[in-house]
């Protein structure tokens, strides 16, 4: 099986991917406004001069939208076609794109989801599943 596409690690997202190794979902939080953001970056977009810290998320969120890929763009995803990608709003505020575990047909907008981690190559990738499922 072809390799899954890997993240481009930079100084700002390295703590995020390191936390994924511990099965923790973390985002940065602005010291001035208290707002959280993703993807990781050197300063707070809400107050670039302010301090910030990393916070661990609850792992809970909501599906805002989703798509199903039929076109192969990555060799590593070829065997997963058709696979979904979903736009998720974390309870802490930030939006991110991820995958929903399970059938594409079971996804709906507004659905509550929670994080889990899947090994893809060298990284633990945070994906989501229906919040009620064990």
């Amino acid at each position: 099986m072809a390799d899954m596409p890997q993240p481009a690690i930079d100084p700002w997202n390295k703590p995020f991917w390191d936390a994924c190794e511990q099965e923790k979902l973390v985002v940065q939080r602005c010291g001035e406004t208290g707002k959280a953001w993703f993807p990781p970056s050197p300063v707070s977009p809400y107050a670039p001069a302010a301090e910030w810290d990393w916070m661990e998320c609850s792992g809970e969120g909501e599906v805002l939208s989703w798509v199903v890929f039929h076109q192969k763009y990555f060799a590593g995803f070829a065997e997963r076609l058709p696979y979904n990608c979903a736009l998720i709003k974390l309870d802490e505020g930030p939006l991110l794109v991820s995958n929903i575990d399970g059938s594409n047909d079971a996804i709906s907008i507004g659905q509550k989801v929670r994080v889990l981690f899947e090994r893809r190559g060298d990284v633990n990738v945070p994906i989501f599943t229906a919040a009620g499922r064990s």
Partner: protein
């Protein structure tokens, strides 16, 4: 800014698969056509903007010009309008008198891929390609407003019908809504016919002052007004369909041009994917938000039928994906009355608009 600058020349190559040339060759060919169209000589050009041509310096060498104003612009299609407005500002300020803007793209013969590039933010999840971004936004739009993929199909089939009247268009065979429904899914909810056509091609425009335009070959087409809003605050596909940004653009562009929305005779809408057409109609206020599906369903965008013919060259969906450049050339030709079978009768004011993270619009006017 009103009417201080005009487009006096436009030119384009054919569109298709041309491995025998490259973006320099395509750009040069388009510029030769634009210079001829304007009735200018290359010596008259004292400003140069290039897009998707790797080196502005090499390009200027090739066409033998030493301008006093020169700029390469970012390869994203949203930079078609940005390039034109920067040229307009240079001319209006006196930094240059006659600016050539040149686009050359050999993405098809080079097998340029829009999706799957290394380093993408969402690659570990398989999320890639502009098409997927628009698919994600359209799903939200359908959920929130009850629009459907058939609404997209009507956009696509309308533009194909227009392309059937354009010898430059790559795809000219009309299709029905049923054909659209049968097209293979690429990234659901979008299908093949929702996607633009990657091709090789070149487009050039020449802008100058109204005074300089007086003794040139073609009637000048004024850059009557323009407006732009940049929205860079979401790393994901946007959840607002660029509506607030486009509303702000609409709030300025008509005032700046000095005409109302109801005086617009035709639209050139950046159609990299069908949803942007509907987002644009809503954002600019041609219909209320969420109503674009109903708004277009009786053919308002169709040439010879509706009041607002759109993308009369076939647009990116059926002519070729020239990233806004060919749409603006079409706006100029429509305002001049040069479009033959696909001419919008009596066209005087044509509006270009792009729904993207740089949301923009330009109104072109003949008089």
């Amino acid at each position: 800014m009103r009417d201080k600058v005009c487009v006096v020349g436009v030119g384009n190559t054919r569109y298709g698969n041309f491995p025998e040339t490259d973006s320099y060759g395509l750009g040069a060919q388009a510029l030769v056509a634009a210079v001829e169209d304007a009735g200018l000589s290359f010596k008259d050009i004292d400003g140069l903007i290039v897009n998707r041509i790797p080196s502005y310096e090499r390009f200027a060498q090739m066409v033998g010009i030493n301008p006093q104003f020169c700029l390469p612009t970012d390869m994203a299609g949203r930079f078609a309008s940005v390039s034109l407005t920067i040229a307009a500002q240079a001319v209006a300020s006196g930094a240059a008198e006659t600016v050539a803007l040149v686009y050359g793209n050999n993405g098809r013969s080079k097998r340029m891929l829009y999706g799957g590039a290394e380093g993408g933010q969402w690659n570990p999840w398989g999320m890639t390609s502009p098409g997927a971004t628009h698919a994600m936004m359209w799903r939200m739009h359908m959920d929130r407003f009850g629009t459907t993929t058939d609404d997209l199909g009507r956009v696509a089939s309308t533009f194909r019908q227009h392309a059937s009247m354009n010898a430059d268009a790559v795809m000219r065979t009309p299709f029905t809504l049923e054909d659209y429904r049968q097209a293979r899914p690429i990234c659901e909810p979008l299908r093949l016919l929702d996607y633009c056509l990657i091709n090789d091609g070149g487009v050039a425009w020449i802008v100058t002052t109204p005074e300089r335009a007086k003794d040139l070959r073609k009637p000048p087409v004024y850059v009557s007004g323009y407006a732009q809003r940049d929205v860079f605050d979401q790393a994901t596909p946007r959840d607002d369909f660029w509506y607030p940004a486009l509303q702000e653009v609409a709030g300025e562009v008509y005032d700046r041009a000095g005409i109302g929305r109801d005086e617009i005779d035709g639209l050139m809408i950046y159609d990299n994917f069908t949803p942007t057409v509907l987002f644009t109609l809503e954002g600019l206020g041609f219909c209320p938000q969420g109503e674009s599906g109903n708004f277009i369903k009786d053919g308002i965008l169709e040439l010879g039928k509706g009041r607002l013919p759109a993308n009369t060259n076939g647009g990116h969906l059926s002519e070729s994906y020239m990233q806004g450049w060919a749409l603006i050339a079409e706006a100029v030709r429509q305002a001049r009355g040069e479009c033959g079978d696909r001419q919008i009768e009596g066209a005087r004011a044509i509006q270009y608009a792009c729904a993207a993270n740089i949301a923009s619009s330009i109104i072109f006017r003949r008089d």
